[in-house]
């Protein structure tokens, strides 16, 4: 085995090279620590590149009324008050500094007329708040951080003669297990090079998980193959806990046809610029789906809705612009009722509503996307769209200030793999800012932990390393087992059909039965070929993670008997203040997952005072409401 195993010593190992991982690496390296960045793909290809809209930060460049308090309030509302309020507070306060810092790394954002960073409106944000670069903000973010990493390596080369002396990128390496000492403290990580299939072992007292989301557990997703819940599963297996796993954001408009692009996002701006949703009967069905809480805020006739685009002051906005979860549910209902489009979505029509030149001017990238990927000209034909699994609000339970994972000394998590920040539903634009704010905090937190350890570094037993190697090779040992691709497709179908956008106890229970069956079958997978760049083998290993994460989603979804944000129970269709005060915490128990309720800490008085009592009454129980201190000063009254 020894010849087969490469061995590295680091202070901090960052698993994941998207926005959170790279920002964490910069922080750890700037704290003077030897840092390894593990990329599952090539450097610079992380899923962060897919983000379009922008980075939310209350810089106030376009509307100077914006402040961290307003951003905080919007974030809590978007998450339906289930957010970790401390994370939401840190996020709102620090996002502007994290964005400005990107300019010092070389980022080139779009500008305001006076030369500042431009900011755009987005759903749920009270003021124009999203720093952006056209509709490729994620690419700008990843490239900027990538180039900052390179610049730090150049500094190290000047100082030490070796660009990789303090900061090294391990491209196309997958971590399969965390290594711990007998007390459970992090001692390193174990994985393989995709290129050669050879094993690699990192000794390091701190590991930062920044592995992103879990979308590949679902059939229709906007996520790439990497999104297999690796960090979620690594944390579980190491003894840490996951929070809010029942909350999954389904974006209402993903492409459904052709199959090659199923799940790829169609930006919200199509509807903002006049596009409407129609069913197979040609009816604008969203008017039938305005929920009571929003009644009076949205147009009731097509005529009024249409007038809003040019005269938003005296007309109400069309119901196509309801929050993402509402629109996604409505599309789902239409398809279930048999009024869907030929390929199982509904029609998003802008062709009949706006002249071709206007569509080309306002939505160039959407025109390009449909033309290149689907051979559909959106100035002439309607698009077919349907909900697509987009983002998991849930993740590793962390300490808000240091990003330290619950229960495992030396383990940290940031970005989509962490939980709490977004509560039950994330606002657009709050993801990129989350990556930067908590990526930096995780890097700093990990560095502080390592420096405090001094020479007392945890050590791992050889038996633990051998076991990790054996587990990774298991799919090659079995003969006559199942094809991992087949098993993956069955799991995706199960999650899509039974733990998708609308859930019932009976369906979730069926999903759990199927997951048990799949787990048992996943013990006997067979992969062909050898270890060098073998996607079948990689999938076989990723499946274990996807199954664990899927079980977390299903078990938590079964327990939470209410509907809130990214969790809709047909059998419990309303929000319940009792559940607002409770997090569901998943942990590993042998081969299975157990879920327990955990009360949330009460929000600090000065933060509560940012909301008026009428709004708090929608979320808090009568007892909680009675305990709220009277506000010393009225809020600015813009609390709609």
């Amino acid at each position: 085995m020894a010849a087969d195993l490469e061995h590295f010593e680091y202070d901090v190992v960052i698993v994941g090279a998207g926005g959170a991982g790279l920002r964490a690496a910069i922080a750890a390296r700037e704290a003077g620590l030897r840092t390894a960045i593990i990329c599952k793909s090539l450097f610079g290809k992380a899923h962060t590149v897919m983000a379009e809209g922008g980075i939310a930060a209350s810089m106030g460049n376009v509307n100077s009324n914006d402040s961290w308090q307003v951003h905080f309030r919007d974030t809590m509302r978007g998450g339906k008050f289930l957010n970790s309020w401390r994370m939401a507070e840190l996020h709102a306060k620090e996002a502007p500094d994290r964005v400005w810092e990107l300019e010092t790394y070389g980022a080139l954002f779009d500008r305001t007329p006076d030369g500042r960073i431009s900011q755009r409106n987005f759903g749920g944000h009270e003021y124009p708040r999203l720093a952006h670069v056209g509709d490729r903000t994620g690419l700008e973010l990843i490239r900027t951080l990538q180039q900052k990493i390179v610049s730090l390596q150049q500094d190290d080369e000047r100082e030490t003669g070796d660009p990789e002396s303090r900061l090294k990128v391990f491209a196309e390496v997958t971590i399969t297990d965390l290594l711990q000492d007998p007390s459970g403290a992090i001692a390193g990580a174990f994985g393989y090079w995709r290129e050669s299939g050879r094993f690699v072992r990192f000794n390091a007292p701190a590991v930062v998980l920044a592995t992103g989301g879990i979308g590949k557990s679902f059939k229709v997703t906007s996520n790439s193959w990497e999104y297999t819940g690796d960090g979620h599963a690594l944390a579980l297996r190491a003894g840490s806990t996951l929070v809010n796993m029942e909350f999954i954001q389904f974006h209402p408009t993903g492409m459904v046809w052709p199959p090659s692009v199923k799940g790829i996002l169609v930006t919200e701006s199509v509807r903002g610029d006049g596009g409407v949703l129609k069913n197979s009967e040609g009816k604008r069905f969203m008017f039938d789906y305005v929920p009571d809480v929003f009644r009076g805020q949205y147009a009731e006739t097509e005529e009024e809705g249409d007038r809003w685009y040019t005269d938003p002051d005296t007309n109400k906005r069309p119901p196509e612009l309801l929050p993402r979860d509402e629109v996604a549910r409505a599309i789902n209902s239409e398809v279930k009722a048999g009024r869907g489009s030929p390929h199982g979505g509904v029609f998003l029509d802008i062709a009949s509503r706006r002249p071709p030149e206007e569509i080309l001017k306002k939505l160039p990238s959407m025109h390009h996307q449909f033309k290149e990927l689907a051979d559909v000209d959106i100035t002439k034909e309607a698009m077919e769209v349907g909900p697509t699994c987009h983002y998991v609000m849930g993740g590793v339970e962390v300490d808000p200030d240091t990003a330290a994972a619950a229960g495992v000394p030396g383990l940290f998590a940031a970005g989509e793999v962490s939980g709490g920040m977004h509560g039950s539903n994330r606002l657009g634009g709050n993801s990129l800012s989350d990556l930067l704010v908590f990526g930096a905090r995780a890097g700093t937190g990990a560095a502080a932990y390592v420096l405090a350890l001094g020479d007392r570094r945890p050590d791992v037993d050889q038996a633990v390393v051998d076991a990790a190697a054996a587990a990774a090779l298991a799919p090659f040992e079995e003969e006559g087992g199942e094809n991992p691709y087949t098993l993956h497709q069955e799991m995706q179908q199960t999650m899509n059909d039974l733990v998708g956008i609308i859930r019932t106890a009976a369906e979730i229970e069926r999903a759990l039965e199927r997951l048990e069956d799949l787990k048992a079958r996943a013990e006997h997978l067979t992969v062909e070929g050898h270890r060098q760049f073998n996607p079948g083998w990689h999938l076989a290993l990723d499946l274990r993670n996807m199954l664990a994460v899927s079980e977390c989603v299903a078990r938590a979804a079964l327990l939470r008997q209410e509907s809130r944000g990214g969790h809709t129970r047909d059998d419990y269709p309303t929000m319940d203040p009792h559940w607002r005060g409770r997090n569901l915490i998943c942990s590993a128990d042998g081969d299975g997952i157990v879920v327990r309720e955990q009360p949330m800490p009460s929000m600090r008085g000065d933060l509560l005072a940012l909301f008026d009592t009428g709004e708090l009454a929608k979320y808090l129980t009568p007892d909680e409401l009675a305990a709220v201190p009277a506000p010393a000063t009225p809020t600015d009254g813009s609390g709609s």
Partner: protein
């Protein structure tokens, strides 16, 4: 409307390999990457290919389709006839690792040689730039690093020995991007392009521009202006005089 297509996919590794014939189902609306994935799932579980976003945004699935450098996710099957054999091979300019996966580390090495953005003496948040001024560099920052331009550039592709001296189109646009950045504090980007990146080896055949999936005008908007800057700075007697007598910053 399904049909069975004939595919020839290069299978092998650094020690050699061959084109392998497959017959594989194709459905309406699919792209070449879908067909490669179907081969993986049904006929050849260990067929190696890189891919991530499947939407033309990450630049991972670069390969050659019927000899043309392409993103597999952006090559629609409808561009071929049903009887046509589709041949998929790895990028020719880089060493093969396995099947369609090549070793593109050359590009990361070149990236590390370019001096990083040099921030101006301004506090974070104090940067002011006009949209019209940032747009020139923004065009080059659309680059998704698919390296198709590097693969197709004959300076790189046909002459292995050039790789040492020539950075390739992707990194010439990086130099141009930094040169045109309104607040970059360095003045020697053109010198670097001449002395370290070998910009003189490019003879402007525009092959790179043709294959760029982001439609970046690599030659017209980056390489030619940089070549002109190189010439202007080094061969223009007025510039030389200006530099000598201190009218022009070096």
């Amino acid at each position: 409307m399904s049909y069975d297509a004939r595919f020839r996919v290069w299978r092998g590794d650094a020690d050699g390999g061959e084109l392998v014939d497959y017959t594989v189902e194709v459905n309406e609306g699919e792209v070449v990457l879908d067909i490669i994935h179907r081969l993986q799932a049904t006929q050849s579980g260990d067929l190696a290919v890189r891919w991530n976003c499947k939407a033309g945004k990450c630049g991972s699935c670069s390969a050659e389709v019927n000899g043309m450098p392409r993103l597999l996710c952006m090559t629609r099957m409808s561009t071929f006839t049903e009887t046509e054999t589709v041949t998929v091979t790895p990028l020719r300019a880089f060493p093969v690792i396995r099947d369609l996966v090549t070793d593109v580390s050359f590009n990361y090495a070149k990236a590390r040689q370019i001096p990083a953005f040099a921030p101006p003496d301004l506090a974070p948040g104090e940067y002011r730039m006009q949209q019209v001024d940032v747009e020139r560099s923004q065009e080059f920052r659309k680059c998704i690093e698919c390296f198709l331009c590097q693969d197709t550039c004959h300076v790189v592709r046909d002459h292995e020995s050039n790789k040492e001296a020539f950075a390739g189109p992707r990194f010439l646009i990086r130099a141009a991007e930094l040169d045109m950045h309104p607040l970059d504090a360095r003045e020697d980007r053109a010198d670097f392009a001449r002395d370290e990146q070998g910009i003189g080896m490019c003879n402007i055949t525009k092959c790179c521009t043709e294959v760029c999936p982001e439609h970046i005008k690599i030659t017209d908007n980056a390489i030619i202006p940089m070549k002109e800057r190189v010439v202007g700075r080094h061969y223009d007697p007025l510039v030389w005089l200006g530099t000598k007598i201190g009218l022009r910053k070096r």
